[in-house]
């Protein structure tokens, strides 16, 4: 094994030397990281496994090969050695990504392999994970590592497939039309029983002027039933068609999108058939004011209860995953569910695939828009305001969404929702013209769902309870450069939640099987302090201590505390 790695290492080294010297058509860069974490439960938790250690040293080698001016091949090789894998025993070598892209006939751009794709928030969109509203630097850089590890670059989904794009120009009426089309493999043949599943689509974007455009989008997640050789087969299809537009008239701009979705499923064995149609629309107005320092935006949207868009509603976090860090906790010795700590530290809970059904979500994090803008069964207003000081000393955003169910969930009455998010950054070094950077970040989110119910008698103890779940998420952080290139990072992330809500339990086709009543009363608090030394802009060493405290007031046996010490050495080259 060691010899294999030695050979590979020598080959790569040779390639790199060649890349940097002899052949400018090959370039490389990369990233190296060493991390080590030690997690331990509080001393009063004596019933469970107390400690865990983890970490790895890894190198990502990114090769950029240009066989011709019109073709580019990119790949990333990762060599990873888990802490404890002494002398290469725990080492792995993996191809993390590979893609080919280029321009054909000087007109058509193409990409093939591992590609990042995005369309609109209702068709293909990787919605941000929960509780990431302007978090402190001490948390942000850890979350960025999670995103890098899981290929979550902005709102793009990483998939394997290919795409083409080209533009046609016109003399009259329409300035140009941009075309994009793609096909990606969502699921491979499984044991010869489950067929291949692809996701394909395209976009036509009409540019009338620089300030007016209309797009037509279509995406479909579908099976190829004949990839399995059996008499009976299943065939699934989720199609979404939309049209989006944007017009600027001076400082005012109008925007919107409307469309439909379909779910078709046929199982010829049981002659089971699903045929569901959904629709949505969003219209809004925005304005840039005060020399574009202030941006105001207001919109109305209605996403009906049957709207399903696999590409837009798949979640970044898989809430059915087991947690990896100290999974059994509390005096109840129960398997804990995903908490604030895991959102930042656990790679395994991240989802990398488009899901063909609505994924589970955690109501206490956000029960208003768990699937982003495309959350089904919501209608209402969204008002957003962004202000950036002209001297860049501070910036602030506020967004309020007042929503309601389109159709009652298990009740004729509809739930009302409020999601208010605020965030702000203050840069003291710029205010006071200090040489060393000092900044404070803050974020706040209030999410609530409410529905009055006549307290219907169910059984001696069971009542139909009113919905009154609300949560507060608070982010505070500061970054202070105390010495040259030495930063002190502190931050806290707090979540308080209380109330009752009913969660829809769905079958594979988003049909509600039942409603599960959940009552919460508790809090989660993650506090961290760290010291970072920046050798230069590309190399840094961070030592950090985190303390996580979860309190369950309904059952104190579920409460627990986890401490974490964390060392990260990060190099970009």
């Amino acid at each position: 094994m060691k010899k294999i790695f030695l050979c590979i290492g020598l080959a790569i080294s040779g390639l790199l030397v060649q890349a940097q010297t002899a052949n400018p058509k090959i370039q490389f860069n990369g990233m190296a990281r060493g991390d080590m974490s030690h997690n331990w439960l509080s001393s009063d938790d004596t019933t469970n496994v107390d400690q865990s250690l983890g970490g790895a040293a890894l190198i990502d080698l990114h090769l950029d090969i240009r066989p011709s001016d019109a073709v580019r091949i990119s790949s990333t090789l990762r060599v990873k050695n888990a802490i404890g894998g002494f002398w290469g025993q725990g080492a792995t070598l993996e191809l993390r990504e590979i893609s080919i892209k280029g321009v054909a006939a000087k007109r058509i751009k193409y990409r093939f392999g591992d590609i990042d794709s995005r369309m609109t928030p209702y068709t293909l969109w990787n919605y941000d994970g929960e509780c990431a509203n302007n978090e402190a630097d001490v948390f942000r850089f850890i979350r960025e590592i999670r995103h890098q590890e899981n290929f979550n670059y902005g709102s793009y989904w990483r998939n394997q497939g290919g795409d083409l794009s080209w533009r046609l120009g016109f003399d009259k009426g329409v300035e140009s039309i941009d075309f994009t089309t793609f096909a990606m493999r969502n699921r491979s043949l499984d044991d010869g029983k489950t067929p291949d599943r692809l996701q394909a689509g395209g976009k036509m974007l009409f540019h009338f002027t620089d300030n007016a455009q209309i797009g037509f989008n279509y995406i479909n997640l579908f099976d190829l039933p004949k990839t399995v050789s059996k008499t009976y087969y299943e065939k699934y299809s989720n199609g979404v068609g939309t049209s989006d537009f944007g017009f600027f008239i001076g400082r005012i701009h109008a925007f919107g999108e409307l469309g439909f979705s379909t779910i078709n499923y046929v199982d010829t064995a049981d002659t089971k058939t699903i045929d569901t149609k959904g629709n949505f629309f969003e219209v809004g107005l925005g304005a840039d004011l005060m020399e574009s320092q202030l941006n105001v935006q207001a919109s109305f949207r209605r996403v009906n209860q049957n709207f399903f868009s696999a590409g837009a509603q798949s979640k970044r976090i898989n809430y059915t995953s087991d947690v990896n860090v100290l999974p059994v906790v509390g005096t109840n010795s129960y398997n804990r569910t995903i908490a604030l700590l895991d959102l930042l530290t656990d790679d395994a809970i991240y989802n990398q695939a488009i899901s063909y059904g609505l994924m589970d979500y955690e109501m206490i994090f956000n029960n208003v828009t768990p699937y982003g803008k495309a959350t089904p069964n919501r209608q209402g207003f969204d008002v957003a305001l962004t202000y950036n000081a002209i001297d860049s000393t501070f910036e602030t955003d506020v967004e309020i969404q007042l929503l309601q169910d389109v159709a009652g969930q298990g009740s004729e009455k509809k739930k009302n929702y409020l999601l208010a998010q605020w965030k702000g950054n203050v840069y003291f070094d710029k205010i006071f013209a200090w040489n060393k950077s000092v900044s404070v970040t803050a974020g706040y989110q209030f999410a609530s769902a409410s529905r009055d119910e006549d307290r219907v008698y169910k059984m001696s103890k069971e009542l139909v309870k009113p919905v009154d779940l609300h949560s507060h998420t608070i982010d505070l952080g500061a970054s202070v450069e105390v010495l040259n290139r030495v930063d002190v990072l502190v931050g806290t992330k707090m979540l308080f939640y209380k109330g009752t809500d009913y969660k829809a339990i769905l079958n594979g086709f988003n049909e509600t099987v039942k409603y599960q009543c959940e009552t919460y009363d508790g809090s989660q608090m993650l506090t961290a302090a760290g010291l970072r030394y920046r050798f230069n802009d590309n190399i840094s060493l961070t030592l950090q201590y985190d303390r996580f405290n979860l309190k369950d007031k309904n059952d104190d046996g579920n409460s627990y505390k986890i401490n974490q010490a964390f060392l990260l050495f990060n190099i970009l080259f």
């Binding site: 629709n279 389109v406 159709a407 298990g410 219907v456 509600t512 039942k514 009543c517």
Partner: protein
């Protein structure tokens, strides 16, 4: 033109917004059922049950919380039902159906469906598999008349019931197709009717001849012998109609139920009457009624207390059982 298009789009969106959508999913003020099936579940949707050979059928299911549950098995041909009840939040294989029925009988060869419901809620779930009754659970007893294989001699007065201008015969065999009434056993039942015009006498009835051998009742345990039969009360007549039951021995002595059987609601009733309730009504020989030599049984339709009115009922499947009654004991 552009303005018209814009107005059209705005009206469409407004229409979409104002649509009143139906509630999503099951009502939360009910009970959510996770699963309910007849076991064994498998690839076949139909489970064969030979109740004559001692087979039994089991169920598995679970639901939201502990409450009083009801499983109803219903024959698709006979309309017969069997109800099982309990309290809990699940049923497992300990819950069994042995082929018996609540009242009217299941049929050989028919398919039955099972439904889970609850005493306090309207929610229910029909199992997606079925029971095929290969043969029904046998009933031990001496059948005196079923109007299919064992017929009976009818009688009736000349005072007839008139319905829609047509005089009904005093007795007539009827099928499901005739009146839309489920037949408790076999294909036929006997309708009996008559008009009480003041004579306070029987209006119609039947003699059930015990043809092959005399019926023998153990005199030491007379009370543990029962005459059982189905009695149907027509909605407009049940409150005016009563039934008298009698037996004759080889000497012509008779015992009967002088109180007569009354109905408190329409529909089929299962009547089980202990022989100990039957009193001597006619004895011209001076010899006590001979329970070891019963040669005839019979029943008659009367109006309640001899009131002048029309009376009408239907009967089926007279059977004498020993040890336990077929239905709840009358009185």
């Amino acid at each position: 033109m552009k303005r018209l298009k814009f107005i059209g789009l705005a009206v469409s969106l407004l229409g979409m917004w104002s649509c009143n959508e139906e509630m999503v999913g099951p009502s939360i003020d009910g009970i959510a059922i996770d699963t309910f099936n007849i076991v064994p579940t498998g690839t076949s949707k139909t489970i064969d049950a030979d109740f004559a050979q001692g087979d039994s059928i089991h169920f598995m299911g679970s639901w939201e919380f502990e409450t009083k549950w009801i499983i109803t098995v219903k024959g698709q041909q006979s309309g017969a039902t069997k109800t099982l009840k309990g309290n809990g939040k699940s049923v497992d294989e300990t819950i069994a159906w042995d082929g018996s029925s609540d009242l009217i009988f299941f049929r050989d060869g028919e398919t039955c469906e099972a439904t889970l419901s609850f005493e306090y809620y309207n929610d229910s779930l029909v199992a997606d598999n079925f029971v095929h009754v290969v043969s029904t659970k046998p009933i031990e007893g001496i059948v005196l008349g079923d109007y299919d294989e064992i017929d009976a001699e009818g009688w009736g007065s000349t005072s007839r019931v008139v319905e829609d201008g047509v005089e009904l015969p005093a007795t007539q065999k009827r099928t499901f197709a005739d009146e839309g009434i489920l037949v408790p056993q076999g294909d036929n039942y006997l309708q009996i009717s008559g008009y009480e015009d003041g004579g306070k006498y029987y209006l119609s009835g039947n003699i059930l001849t015990i043809s092959e051998a005399p019926l023998k009742i153990d005199t030491k345990n007379i009370g543990s012998n029962y005459i059982n039969f189905f009695l149907y009360g027509y909605p407009e007549y049940y409150s005016n109609s009563t039934i008298y039951v009698m037996f004759s021995d080889k000497n012509g002595n008779k015992i009967g139920f002088n109180d007569r059987i009354k109905m408190t609601e329409p529909g089929w009733h299962g009547i089980s009457l202990s022989f100990s309730k039957l009193k001597e009504t006619e004895n011209e020989t001076g010899i006590p009624f001979d329970y070891s030599n019963i040669t005839e049984a019979g029943y008659s339709l009367f109006s309640v207390d001899g009131t002048e009115c029309a009376a009408k009922a239907a009967v089926d499947y007279f059977i004498v059982t020993t040890g336990k009654p077929l239905f709840n004991v009358y009185n």
